[in-house]
């Protein structure tokens, strides 16, 4: 199947009232072209799964908050986008704060077909509220459930036409794990190359996980 496609095609796939994983940390590894596509094609009522809600002074995930496209955010940090806290206190946005390492592991579970994982992070804190606590080998752990999304949006430096991906420097962050944990995985890539151009041992996410590739717009 041809995976390289147009933004017009992608726009038809970005339905409202769906869960979206959006990769990136501190605006690095963030799929700006695909976020612009979400904004342009009117997608709303998004359940966002991401590291954070962006930086209020920069483009990216923050724009989805400002334009009130998000109904629920499952993230580890909102401190750089105070609009998030404002919408939460006004009852406009539902917020589930998840410790960053718990977030990464829940995504990993969702992408690996694992039904849940016991983690010690958050024991004795508000994060433990309502969760099963299990004592294993003398230590307490919380049962954390997998995260799986309808759609994952990734940013790669290079993609071949089969969707094999390479991420540049710290843009790797959530990209390879989110790319395993959604029904539909859409990638924007700075460079799209022919299969065989990338060495099998340098590929960071196998194309078998990837559904569609678009050319990233120049920033």
């Amino acid at each position: 199947m041809e995976k390289v496609t147009s933004l017009n095609h992608i726009c038809r796939l970005l339905e409202s009232d769906r869960s979206y994983m959006i990769a990136g940390f501190a605006e690095v590894g963030t799929p700006y072209t695909l976020i612009n596509c979400l904004l342009a094609c009117g997608t709303r009522d998004i359940t966002l799964i991401a590291n954070d809600t962006g930086d209020a002074t920069k483009p990216g995930v923050s724009q989805l908050i400002f334009e009130k496209r998000i109904k629920k955010a499952i993230v580890s940090h909102v401190g750089k986008n105070p609009e998030t806290g404002r919408q939460v206190m006004n009852g406009e946005l539902e917020l589930e704060l998840v410790p960053q390492g718990t977030l990464t592991e829940r995504i990993r579970c969702g992408g690996a077909g694992i039904g849940g994982v016991y983690l010690k992070t958050g024991v004795g804190t508000p994060i433990a509220d309502g969760k099963e606590i299990r004592t294993l080998d003398g230590a307490d752990y919380l049962l954390e459930l997998p995260l799986h999304a309808h759609i994952a949006l990734l940013h790669a430096e290079k993609a071949d036409r089969l969707g094999n991906l390479i991420f540049h420097m710290m843009a790797r962050n959530y990209n390879p794990i989110m790319g395993t944990a959604a029904d539909l995985v859409i990638v924007e890539a700075n460079q799209i190359v022919e299969p065989g151009t990338l060495s099998p041992e340098e590929i960071m996410l196998p194309g078998a996980f990837v559904d569609y590739i678009v050319q990233a717009e120049r920033r």
Partner: protein, 219 residues
């Protein structure tokens, strides 16, 4: 030297040659400026790296806007530096391999518990990676100003803000004192030059154990 630099310099004294260390936002980020020559410290950044060396500016030959530390500063690698995805980064932390984490806090208490991510009804920042870092690291060093901006003691009998973790802090470094968390309570280990024990006690809500010998902090 300013207050923040003084705190960072004294926190740096608590690191050992060969340690792999994670630094939080704010004062901890100044710690690398005060590592003694000949002491090799490797910095872990939770977005997914070990071995970043310092701040890079656009004038630097190796400047790369996608090579950032976890505080979103552009950086560069020392020889042997590595990148990993965020799940592997937290596997490193959670499994107990991280030697030290240095971070700030809004409250620390007599049991070594800390709070640093939310003030109910006023401020939601989110914990980011802090809960995972303090639960996983072999040693937790709190580097913070002794009192809040309005003069309220931050070292308290029992935290009242939402907790980050229970019983994890080892050392507290402020502009007035170094306090060690021991099984029997908080022990005053050192005071800043020119600061009396009485001043430290007056500005600390928690009970302080005063041993016969108290060191002087490094100016």
């Amino acid at each position: 030297m300013g207050t923040r630099e003084f705190i960072a310099k004294n926190a740096a004294q608590l690191l050992n040659d060969g340690d792999i260390v994670n630094l939080g936002l704010g004062i901890p980020g100044l710690v690398p400026n005060y590592i003694a020559p000949g002491k090799h410290i490797y910095f872990h950044n939770e977005n997914g790296s070990i071995g970043l060396a310092g701040i890079a500016t656009p004038e630097d030959a190796n400047y790369d806007p996608e090579l950032i530390d976890a505080c979103a500063n552009c950086s560069y690698f020392q020889p042997g530096g590595v990148i990993m995805d965020s799940a592997a980064s937290f596997a490193f932390v959670r499994s107990g391999r991280l030697d030290v984490t240095v971070l700030g806090a809004m409250e620390v208490d007599e049991a070594g518990s800390l709070a640093n991510w939310a003030i109910p009804g006023k401020m939601i920042a989110g914990m980011g990676g802090a809960m995972d870092l303090v639960s996983g690291a072999k040693k937790v060093i709190i580097a913070m100003e002794h009192c809040s901006k309005n003069g309220r003691p931050k070292i308290v009998k029992e935290c009242t803000l939402p907790l980050t973790a229970l019983h994890v802090c080892k050392n507290i470094v402020t502009e007035l004192a170094i306090i060690n968390v021991q099984p029997n309570g908080l022990v005053l280990a050192a005071v800043a030059p020119g600061v009396s024990v009485e001043e430290v006690v007056a500005k600390t809500q928690a009970h302080l154990i005063i041993p016969p010998h108290i060191d002087t902090m490094v100016a």
